[in-house]
């Protein structure tokens, strides 16, 4: 999942950025409002974490402009402004969630997961494809009742594929959502990750769930057409 953090506190950029990346999210970070708007308009994010008091362009203006242009990426406002008016104004302009500083990192993570779920129209934290069960809240994966150990990045890749179950997802989309812009265009990091994921979720000749569409990308499906 790819996130955008627009936060002017360098320390919060560092700590939140580190925590989210360690949790497997691909993350873009900026401390300037104008740059944040440019990021949000130029990329497809699964959630945007937005501070309100920003240099360059304030958070509410960013939100308003995004919604005016039809950008429906989930937005979580993360701010020290705690009055009811502030919250109502933020949610009224189209924010999907509002978290007041100081906050628990666990809560931020849970809210981001909930927003990502909603973005892909999943009502619960549980994803199931045949006998593959993905618990996005507990961040666990089980295949035929057996726990599958995945790295955060692999988990995020599987969650992304499962969230878009039945859709062919191109390499570039996977790169954009899982690897941010850190992937070299010529690298085969996506292919390697898919290969590794297949090995882990389909051991001992279990029925394969991730299928390749040559020239197009990958699809997670129990019975591919």
């Amino acid at each position: 999942m790819r996130l955008l953090l627009i936060e002017d506190s360098r320390r919060l950029q560092d700590s939140i950025g580190r925590g989210l990346r360690k949790s497997g999210y691909a993350l873009d970070v900026t401390g300037d409002g104008s740059e944040g708007l440019w990021f949000a308009e130029s990329n497809s994010y699964d959630t945007i974490i937005l501070d309100l008091m920003l240099p360059g362009l304030d958070g509410l203006t960013i939100l308003r402009r995004l919604r005016q242009k039809g950008n429906n990426a989930p937005v979580l406002i993360l701010t020290a402004k705690d009055t009811v008016d502030d919250r109502v104004r933020g949610l009224g302009l189209g924010a999907d969630d509002y978290l007041i500083k100081p906050f628990a990192f666990e809560e931020l993570l849970a809210r981001i997961q909930a927003l990502c779920r909603r973005h892909y129209e999943r009502p619960t934290a549980l994803l199931a494809v045949e006998d593959l069960e993905i618990d996005t809240a507990a961040r666990t994966v089980r295949r035929a009742g057996k726990t599958v150990d995945l790295t955060p990045r692999e988990f995020m890749l599987l969650e992304y594929l499962a969230a878009r179950r039945g859709q062919v997802i191109s390499r570039s989309e996977i790169e954009a959502h899982i690897y941010c812009d850190s992937v070299d265009l010529a690298s085969n990091v996506v292919d390697s990750a898919i290969c590794s994921l297949r090995r882990k979720i389909c051991p001992d000749g279990d029925r394969p769930l991730i299928h390749t569409r040559r020239g197009m990308g990958y699809i997670l499906e129990s019975n591919p057409p």
Partner: protein, 484 residues
């Protein structure tokens, strides 16, 4: 009973009661006196008529009483009475109506005319007049010399029934009581109503006041259609509300600013700690996290210390230790710590400073003021800008001006410069400044008897002026050594 309405109502009711009672009594007495005078006139006329019929011949008194002409004295119900006594109390003659009874006027009195109330022989109340006179026929004792010839005088007493008089007085008293009662009832009903209506504007003001609380300080008392007595009160209350509202808004803004200023570093601290605990990582990351933690702690310490200093100074608890301070030397000493940053920003510095000025002041506070002003000048000057530092000791009062180039500062911003936590940048992202520096500077200056002002000299030059306040304290007076 501590309400104006109750007091006014009771006061008015008691007042009206006294007034009505007094008026009724006066009216009764007036008519009673009139009726009595009328009765007495009739009585006297009767007595004089009988006196005219009294004669003395050769020491013998006679009353030619023509009963057929004055039948009232003959007898019967409501008969009149008369009795003629000699000076020594001997009955000379009396009306047939008296029968065997007598009237007993005082014969000791030397009064010529005397009225008295008495019980008549038929047991009813009557009124009598006693007339002392010398009957006709005695040439030696004219009326004018009656006192010398008392022995030759007679006392004629005429008595009449006063039932008619008493009846009229009774009707008068009843009429007054009825009217008085009606007045009392109407007063009892009318006074509270009038008081209620009279005090209704006060009640409206009170109800309006009861609607005003901390959340509705924008409300104001109505100024039109108010009685003139209440207009100045409501005017003053509205002024007070305006000041209160401004004060509350300042406090709210201050609380929100404090919350914001503290929330952000707390959020940084918490996020840093939680992420570090969850993903301990390599030692370098831990060291970095600890360093960041220390920086945040110091930043929060600066804010808290600033707030404490502000509170202490505003409460007048700041202790002042006055010593002689050489201003120019102090300015240069402070500047040494800022010179490197000024060079980095390629700032042009212009000094215009009298070297010989000194003043008695608290060194710590005065130093804080100058540090704040000079560091602000360096921090907020754009790269390549200029700073002018001018200390004028030859003028009275002395004055220190510190000017620096600014960008994006408007005249509307200037009045906010000394507000706590005010920042030009709405994002409040300049982490090296908490927004308390200039607020502290002003409070420190006030503690030292100084005043500080800021103004835009031109659109891009901001000047701070420090000088003795309007109530110049002795220690704030700059002393210039005389040349030898």
């Amino acid at each position: 009973m501590n309400s104006i309405r109750s007091r006014l109502t009771i006061g008015l009711l008691v007042g009206f009661c006294v007034l009505w009672t007094g008026a009724a009594t006066a009216l009764y007495l007036y008519f009673r006196t009139g009726l009595l005078a009328e009765f007495d006139t009739t009585l006297l006329a009767n007595a004089q008529a009988l006196a005219a019929l009294t004669h003395q011949r050769n020491g013998i008194f006679e009353l030619d009483f023509p009963g057929e002409f004055i039948p009232g004295f003959e007898g019967g119900p409501a008969a009149n009475y008369f009795q003629l006594l000699s000076a020594n109390g001997k009955i000379i003659d009396q009306s047939p109506s008296l029968g065997v009874s007598h009237l007993f006027p005082s014969t000791d009195s030397t009064e010529i005319l005397q009225y008295l109330d008495l019980t008549l022989p038929d047991g009813q109340r009557g009124r009598a007049v006693s007339l002392r006179f010398i009957p006709q026929g005695n040439e030696e004792a004219p009326d004018s010399q009656l006192d010398k010839h008392l022995g030759a005088s007679v006392i004629l007493t005429v008595a009449l029934h006063r039932a008619g008089l008493d009846h009229r007085l009774g009707i008068l008293a009843t009429a007054l009581l009825v009217v008085g009662g009606l007045l009392a009832v109407s007063t009892g009903l009318g006074v509270p109503l009038v008081v209620h209506r009279g005090l209704s504007p006060l009640q409206e003001v009170a109800e309006h006041a009861s609607r005003i609380d901390v959340e509705s300080l924008q409300l104001r008392f109505p100024s039109s259609n108010l009685p003139t007595e209440l207009q100045p009160i409501c005017g003053r209350l509205n002024e007070l509300l305006a000041r209160l509202q401004a004060s509350f808004e300042r406090e709210r803004q201050f609380s929100a600013d404090v919350a914001h200023e503290l929330r952000t570093p707390i959020a940084e601290l918490r996020s840093l700690a939680e992420v570090a605990l969850r993903w301990p990582g390599e030692p370098a990351a831990s060291t970095s996290a600890l360093k960041e933690t220390l920086e945040i702690a110091m930043q929060m310490g600066t804010i808290v210390n600033g707030l404490l200093s502000l509170a202490r100074c505003e409460a007048g608890l700041q202790k002042l230790d006055t010593v002689p301070v050489r201003v120019a030397a102090l300015m240069r000493e402070i500047w040494e710590s800022l010179a490197d940053l000024a060079r980095e920003k390629r700032l042009a510095i212009f000094w215009n400073m009298a070297e010989d000025g000194s003043m008695e002041t608290d060194l710590a506070l005065f130093r804080s003021i100058l540090i704040n002003l000079l560091s602000n000048a360096v921090d907020y000057s754009p790269a390549g800008g200029s700073i002018h530092i001018c200390v004028k000791t030859e003028t009275v009062p002395w004055q220190i001006d510190i000017s620096n180039s600014v960008t994006d500062l408007t005249p509307a911003d200037v009045p906010h410069l000394f507000e706590r936590f005010w920042r030009r940048d709405p994002a409040r992202s300049a982490s090296s400044h908490s927004g308390l520096g200039l607020a502290l500077t002003r409070v420190f200056a006030k503690s030292l008897g100084l005043e500080i002002a800021a103004y835009l000299t031109t659109t891009d030059v901001l000047t701070f002026t420090l000088r003795p306040g309007s109530s110049i304290r002795e220690e704030a007076t700059m002393k210039i050594p005389t040349s030898t």
